[in-house]
């Protein structure tokens, strides 16, 4: 059932991601910046909250009046800040929800990724805790409803002796100190939330914590625009003699509150418990079966640290040398963090198929799919090519090319070292190469698309040699759903290659010379 739900969701995401990518471009696509946008909206909430705190009065009567004062008399600064505070909080919920669904859809929550998934659960609880305590502070009719329903829910737990909800059904039971406590909660809970957001990304290499400036600016302008168009306003002063029977609910934060009438308070708690348990257990339902982690071969490791630099999961670190070779450091793999994506194999300068040693070995390799096997499969796939436009296709396990026949398949296209492409063309194994990976903003292994592009462009070590004609290499970044598009673009590229037979490549002037920044433009990027 989980797999079926994942497939349906993935289909949905892939359906909307392509138009989004076309519209915004890969760099600004909001769907590939959900985590970063979450951080952005958190900071907007934090800054606007600090500003609002200057004007907020914690007195039992003054709380409502102070909020009304800033909304009516100072709408042009503090009122706008209040709206920014409200809408950025709502957008934070939207970002968290879509982020969670997307990680689930793309199966990016099992295996070593359990940690980020699992730490996301308390983030959801704290996010809702922050929002609910915030609504309480305004002390309007909605606050009364939130106060009564929240305390009724809490009273359902066998913790409190006297029902807390009794404080909100008659006058004279609340003191101003209560608001002081709520302000403290409304500051402490988000601070703890921020701490957990840091814990959430601690195991990720190069986490996206800030969206691109252009995207952040768009979001900020839209936030200001919507704040001016529909300012956040209070819903009338609390009247404890009347039940808050009609309220404009914030459906992002309070969707479960009306359900207390339908399911009862116990039912809502049961739902929350089941939801949390389900989310908490999902990384192991069923556990991800993955290949064995990468292994370092010290005889071929010179401690260059490129593998550690490129690993998207912080699974490799450089440690002191443990053998007699004259290098200060060596790579060390943490098996608990390794997802066996092979990106480190592609980063290792020893990973060159040109090596003449008896058995092809490299500094770091995947035991279940080593470089030697990759070279053999490459040669095998190339041998099956015929005709004037022989195009060899490298695909990853997760992109649009994964269902095509006659391809060389890998966990991630960044597993292929750039020298492998040189090898194919210089040995005349094919006339052209297609690298078909995941969609640009949705790389299953996070950084595989970026690293491949940069290596071919000559901006990231190990570089693709300058002698390799870039016009004979095409990259297609497409989600798994777009198999037919990938096939069409491969056919179009093959047709083009067939018109220009491959000439023998000249010998390089120096090994590993980076391409000039301008030269990489010659790389054929299909479908962009």
């Amino acid at each position: 059932m989980i797999s079926a739900a994942r497939r349906v969701l993935r289909y949905g995401f892939e359906l909307i991601e392509r138009p989004f990518e076309r519209l915004f471009g890969p760099a600004l696509n909001p769907l590939s910046q959900l985590g970063a946008l979450g951080f952005f909206f958190f900071w907007v909430v934090a800054v606007s909250g600090i500003y609002l705190f200057i004007f907020f009065d914690t007195g039992i009567e003054r709380a409502y009046e102070s909020v009304e004062y800033i909304s009516r008399n100072h709408w042009f600064h503090a009122g706008v800040m209040r709206s920014l505070h409200r809408y950025a909080s709502d957008l934070l919920v939207v970002m968290v929800t879509v982020h969670l669904l997307r990680q689930f859809a793309y199966d990016q929550y099992r295996g070593v990724r359990w940690y980020s998934w699992f730490t996301g659960l308390p983030i959801i609880w704290l996010l809702y805790g922050s929002g609910i305590t915030g609504y309480w502070l305004v002390w309007d009719r909605l606050a009364q409803y939130v106060a009564i329903t929240t305390s009724e829910l809490l009273d359902r737990l066998p913790i409190f002796g006297e029902p807390i909800a009794r404080n909100f059904i008659s006058t004279g039971t609340l003191s101003s100190r209560f608001f002081t406590l709520m302000v403290f909660m409304h500051i402490a809970v988000p601070l703890f939330l921020l701490f957990l957001m840091w814990v959430h990304i601690i195991r990720i290499s190069r986490p996206k914590m800030n969206p691109p400036r252009a995207l952040a600016l768009m979001m900020l302008l839209a936030l200001i625009g919507v704040s001016m168009w529909k300012p956040a306003l209070s819903q009338g002063h609390v009247d404890l003699a009347k039940a808050p029977v009609e309220v404009g609910l914030d459906w992002f934060y309070l969707p479960l509150y009306p359900l207390t009438e339908v399911w009862g308070r116990g039912g809502v708690w049961a739902f929350l418990g089941a939801f949390s348990l389900m989310i908490g257990l999902m990384p192991w339902l069923p556990p991800l079966r993955r290949a064995r982690p990468a292994q370092v071969d010290l005889n071929h490791c010179n401690g260059c640290a490129r593998c550690a630099e490129d690993c998207p999961y912080e699974a490799i670190r450089m440690v002191g040398r443990t053998d007699d070779l004259p290098y200060p450091t060596q790579a060390q793999v943490n098996p608990a963090l390794c997802v066996s994506c092979g990106i480190c194999v592609g980063a290792c300068p020893s990973s060159t198929p040109f090596r003449r040693s008896e058995e092809l070995k490299t500094g770091i390799d995947l035991p279940d799919y080593d470089l030697k096997t990759l070279r053999e499969r490459t040669i095998e796939a190339a041998a099956a090519l015929s005709g004037p436009g022989r195009v060899l296709i490298f695909v990853c396990d997760h992109g649009g090319g994964r269902r095509l026949d006659g391809t060389v398949r890998m966990p991630c296209v960044a597993m292929a070292p750039p020298s492998l492409f040189d090898f194919v063309l210089s040995r005349n194994l094919a006339d052209g190469i297609v690298i078909a990976g995941c969609a640009e903003g949705a790389c299953y292994n996070r950084l595989g698309v970026d690293w491949t592009k940069q290596r071919i462009a000559g901006t990231r070590d190990p570089y693709l040699r300058a002698r390799v004609p870039r016009e004979r290499i095409a990259t297609i970044w497409a989600p798994a759903l777009e198999t037919s598009r990938v096939a069409a673009e491969i056919a179009s590229f093959t047709k083009e290659i067939a018109k220009h037979p491959l000439q023998k490549l000249r010998a390089p002037q120096a090994p590993s010379v980076p391409a000039q920044p301008g030269n990489d433009r010659a790389l054929t990027e299909v479908g962009s």
Binding site: F20, Y87, A222, V226, V245, E246, G248, D250, F252
Partner: protein
């Protein structure tokens, strides 16, 4: 093409933000139907102890550790509070409210809500918090006129030993 893209981006972002602004306070949620009021029975009250204090015999006192010797033993556990509520001559709630606490020595509590149509209502509430098995220790009746959305609270003041209607 660029203008089209910018227009498309604007539309997508505008749609997102308009949706967020809309669902931040709409649709309005109505807890009870129009023409209704809420009667809330809510109080916290401890009934009598289950048993009276008993004077210990010299032998029993002797058996106790020297630093814990006392002349009386007073059981902590309380009786449940029995309560009934009538609305319009019909009993809508009756319950034995158990004492709270692990040792059963805390106060009994009730927090019940009844949605009623607006207008005149006969309200009667009765409570038993002593060992008696029939009759009631506290009782109050009144005819009240409830208006739309009114929250009518029935509380109990232990200090004065009477029900409070407000």
């Amino acid at each position: 093409m660029t203008y089209l893209r910018i227009a498309g981006q604007f539309l997508v972002i505008a749609a997102l933000f308009v949706a967020v602004a809309a669902f931040s306070d709409w649709p309005v949620y109505r807890q009870i139907s129009r023409g209704s009021a809420i009667v809330m029975l809510s109080f916290v009250h401890g009934a009598d102890r289950k048993a009276e204090c008993r004077r210990l015999t010299p032998e029993e006192i002797q058996k106790l550790p020297p630093n814990m010797r006392r002349v009386q033993e007073c059981p902590r556990a309380r009786r449940p509070v029995y309560v009934e509520l009538d609305l319009g001559g019909k009993t809508v709630f009756q319950a034995n409210l158990p004492p709270t606490g692990i040792a059963g020595d805390g106060q009994s509590k009730v927090y019940e809500r009844f949605v009623v149509p607006v207008g005149k209502h006969d309200i009667a509430v009765r409570m038993r918090d002593t060992p008696r098995t029939d009759g009631f220790d506290h009782e109050r009746k009144a005819v009240v006129t409830l208006v739309d959305d009114q929250l009518f609270v029935i509380d109990f003041r232990a200090e004065s030993g009477e029900f409070v209607f407000r």
